[in-house]
């Protein structure tokens, strides 16, 4: 056993740090991390589905699934099994290649986005690609491929509902991607890095903890410095604005209520996946839920301190517990506590989005596009500029600089809101003065035309 633990291959695979190992060791490590990520990512889809249905049931005053297994926990599994055994219908006149490829194109990028998501602070085992220094860019690049799956599904199905759903989905997703990208820029300005792991570190206190009585390499301990250091609270209120913009865009990106126009069942049956059955449908379904989880996890990483606890002491077992060897303490800290915090934050956030779904009515499509282009985009852009201004002013005048920037932001917001109010008022009075009477008149005329003439 000791021989094995000390053999060079074992050390390459599990002990040495990443810059000292040959490529095949990195390959094996990547495979392992990939399996972990897949288990965490796709594995939590059933939990998520169950959670959503139960919570929706709770908020709508009914029970939700409660028959299969304790509290209906096995319901998603039963659903998956059922979907797998259903007939796989391929309608005639579909574009076969694209029709078969589309679910894969929708699912692959979602799984790929897991690559850069850190789940603990270990520099070798903390993410699938812990050393990738372009994390966020990779994420954006991969996430934007996803829309291809949707539009190809819509187009290849040769179904009018699918086509409309696909078009709606693609233009909605690309519109909200802008707000998303710009809100991430605000975070990048504050932190100055693209690597996801460093984004988390920038919200915490980082220490390197040596582990004396073990073979394992040094693990980087990222200890929470308190939730007030999270990016969402940095440069208040700009961090908060960025976070809110991100969260709204994130709901729209995943086509969830109240932005679920592409699947509006009252008008489009099921949108772009109307023609999909069996497991091909399940892939869209899985992709959507996995995506929802991933964008929430990114939100947690970017704005809410990632896998760290909101309070330092909650995030780790104290080193004073000397009756455990320090390697065990570290193991528990990294493998149990850090991912646990990630999941706690993640599910809190997701529960919030389920609440939004339960309580908010669906938008109209023009409202959706107006909101994305005329509200979210300028807000995010102004926010980026204001973050930069605040930082530049702080460099010049110290902390006072930030208050100047907030003052500028306040003036700007007041002006914009005032102008918007005036426009709204003008339009409303215009409506009452001109449009409504015409409408009434035409209605009267239309009714009169149909009525039998009375002598």
């Amino acid at each position: 056993m000791t021989d094995l633990l000390n053999s060079p291959v074992w050390r390459d695979l599990f002990v040495n740090s990443a810059d000292q190992i040959p490529w095949y060791a990195e390959f094996v490590r990547s495979l392992l991390r990939f399996v972990i990520a897949l288990a965490g990512g796709l594995g939590s889809v059933p939990i998520l589905v169950w959670l959503e249905r139960r919570l929706l049931g709770f908020w709508q005053g009914r029970l939700g699934p409660n028959r299969v297994g304790p509290f209906g926990l096995l319901q998603p599994l039963a659903d998956a099994l059922k979907l797998m055994m259903k007939e796989d219908i391929t309608p005639t006149n579909v574009d076969k290649t694209l029709y078969y490829l589309a679910p894969a194109i929708a699912l692959v990028p979602v799984i790929c986005s897991l690559t850069v998501l850190p789940w603990n602070s270990s520099s070798d085992w903390g993410a699938v690609a812990p050393h990738l220094n372009v994390g966020i860019l990779f994420l954006l690049a991969v996430a934007s491929i996803e829309v291809y799956g949707v539009i190809l599904a819509g187009w290849s199905s040769n179904n009018k509902y699918s086509l409309l759903g696909g078009l709606r989905a693609s233009s909605q997703v690309i519109s909200y991607e802008l707000g998303m990208g710009l809100s991430i820029i605000a975070v990048l300005l504050m932190t100055g890095t693209l690597a996801m792991q460093e984004l988390v570190h920038s919200q915490t206190i980082v220490t390197n903890v040596p582990i004396p009585d073990s073979n394992y390499s040094v693990w980087t301990q990222s200890v929470s410095a308190g939730f007030w250091n999270w990016n969402i609270f940095k440069l208040f209120p700009f961090g908060l604005v960025a976070a809110v913009v991100y969260m709204i865009s994130m709901i729209a990106e995943t086509n969830r209520a109240p932005f679920d126009l592409p699947e509006a069942e009252t008008e489009l049956v099921a949108g772009f996946h109307t023609e999909y059955t069996s497991f091909k449908f399940a892939m869209f379904f899985m992709g959507e839920y996995a995506n929802m989880m991933i964008v929430s996890a990114i939100c947690v990483t970017l704005f809410l301190g990632g896998y760290t606890a909101p309070w330092g002491i909650l995030g780790q077992l104290p080193a004073s517990w000397t009756f455990f060897p320090s390697s065990v303490l570290n193991f528990v800290n990294h493998v149990v506590i850090a991912p646990a915090w990630l999941f706690i934050k993640l599910y809190t956030l997701i529960s919030f989005f389920i609440l939004v779904r339960a309580s908010q009515p669906r938008l109209r499509y023009d409202m959706l596009m107006h909101f994305g282009w005329k509200v979210l985009l300028p807000t995010a852009l102004a926010n980026v500029v204001l973050v930069a201004t605040s930082m530049a002013l702080q460099q010049l005048f110290g902390a006072v600089g930030h208050f100047i920037a907030v003052g500028i932001a306040g003036c700007l917001a007041t002006i914009v809101l005032w102008v918007a109010y005036l426009h709204w008022k003008a339009r409303k009075s215009g409506d009452e003065a001109s449009r409504l009477p015409i409408r009434r008149e035409s209605v009267v005329r239309a009714i009169a035309a149909r009525m039998p003439v009375e002598d």
Partner: protein, 121 residues
């Protein structure tokens, strides 16, 4: 340096395999009882008229074009944002440079808005 991309490769390959396997699985497991009406396009029971490959509103194209413009703007902002803090010297100078860039795009944005390029409905 390049070895940091090995996981990306593994991830993309793995995800592709998983996705293709799922498609294959669905084709293998389910029963197969095709019929003419089952295989026709689903339009709530009504027989479909014509092809679905029709022209669609130009608005969608416009949105795509505007997206390209503003997405490129965002991408150009990324390197600037990452180096903003670390570039040394006066941040104010970097700020002004980017303000010029944003201002040029803002002209385009205002133009599109005023000309009704963002109107739906």
């Amino acid at each position: 340096m390049l070895s940091s991309y090995i996981p990306v490769l593994v991830m993309v390959a793995g995800a592709t395999i998983v996705a293709l396997a799922l498609i294959g699985l669905s084709a293998l497991l389910g029963p197969r009882r095709p019929s003419a009406s089952k295989d026709s396009a689903y339009e709530c029971g009504v027989t479909p008229i014509g092809s679905a490959r029709e022209r669609f509103p130009v608005k969608f194209y416009l949105t795509a074009m505007l997206f390209i413009v503003f997405d490129i703007e965002t991408i150009f902002l990324y390197p600037w944002a990452v180096n903003y803090k670390a570039s040394g010297g006066l941040m104010f100078f970097n700020l002004v440079e980017m303000l010029v860039f944003v201002a040029i795009l803002l002209v385009g944005y205002i133009y599109v808005w005023k000309r009704g390029g963002l109107e739906w409905g």
